[in-house]
Symmetry: D2
Subunit: 106 residues, 4 copies
């Protein structure tokens, strides 16, 4: 399992608002791959799942602004893939929290 972060931006649309595009991606994410988990942040969408599923979903997400009329799309994907340990959104945040707590106690 890997964790990814994806940001998809349409270029040359006449509005500075992107929320309509992000909402559409959210709907695609809800129906695309039951096996992935995802969460929206203010800057990107975080996806947890098998590498193949992440790539498939990103491929779909990249297409959504075009379906809404955009003619140019910039997609940025970062994948964090760790194979010595089962990585997950939850585990990564807990690791940092544990570190912080340990140091506060010492």
């Amino acid at each position: 399992m890997a964790i990814a972060q994806v940001t998809i931006v349409p270029i040359g649309t006449d509005s500075t608002s992107l929320s309509g595009y992000v909402a559409e991606m959210y709907r695609v994410l809800e129906h695309a791959e039951p096996s992935i988990r995802f969460e929206l942040t203010a800057m990107s969408t975080i996806i947890e799942g098998e590498l193949e599923h992440i790539f498939r979903v990103v491929r779909l997400l990249h297409e959504t602004p075009f379906e809404q009329g955009a003619l140019r799309v910039s997609t940025t994907l970062t994948i964090d893939d760790r194979r010595d340990k089962q990585g997950s959104i939850k585990q990564k945040l807990e690791s940092v929290a544990k570190r912080l707590q340990k140091e506060m106690e010492s």
Copy 2:
């Protein structure tokens, strides 16, 4: 005000775990600029604040892995800066939520 997303990765450290580095960045963020707001996600740190403060904080964060012994650091920063409207982490997420709700109702 702008919103940014930053990921800082030490290269050539012998452990695959990065939580010690992320915890240290968290402590720097807590003390660096009272005027910024920040939140940790599983893939990056999101920072909200004045552009100058964001740059200053990222400059500090970039230094922390070196202070912990790293000899090479890769820092990725994305800034979303909107000047026709007061943008914030909260506002961006609410815009998407409103869109989703409106479409569910219609």
Copy 3:
């Protein structure tokens, strides 16, 4: 056709040098997809080709550091996909050069 930029970084390897990993990716790129064009820069690899081919190649490239012993890999991909016009590495650089020349003449 789209243009992409990809950077692949192994995490937790004991050396700060990444040139061995980049050289291996170069060899994979040479044999992976005859239909893509690519070039190495100091910060990333730029790939030009059909979207499906780009995704397939990035999937392969992401695997190479693992095959060389890495246990954690961070891959960052940016895709610039323009559908109102045939985009290419050459065309993008020429557009900027033309602009600069026009302004110098005026």
Copy 4:
């Protein structure tokens, strides 16, 4: 010295062409910091220089689309900072070339 890669994209402009914005950034780069070196690629601008100079230049570049009328700008910066060795654009590309040659000969 560090090496950086920066991509600056205006959002909500009515044209899909970005070459006018890139040309303007090029002019800013030519006059901003005599101490930095830079080169344009099809996907980003690569900058080599002292960390402080890189941050200063990126700060300036981020402003240029606003000066040309954009109301929202997305800036992505990646810094590769290596302190065990003098890194440069030239040195990084030569390291990879040497590796490839060595393996071809063996």
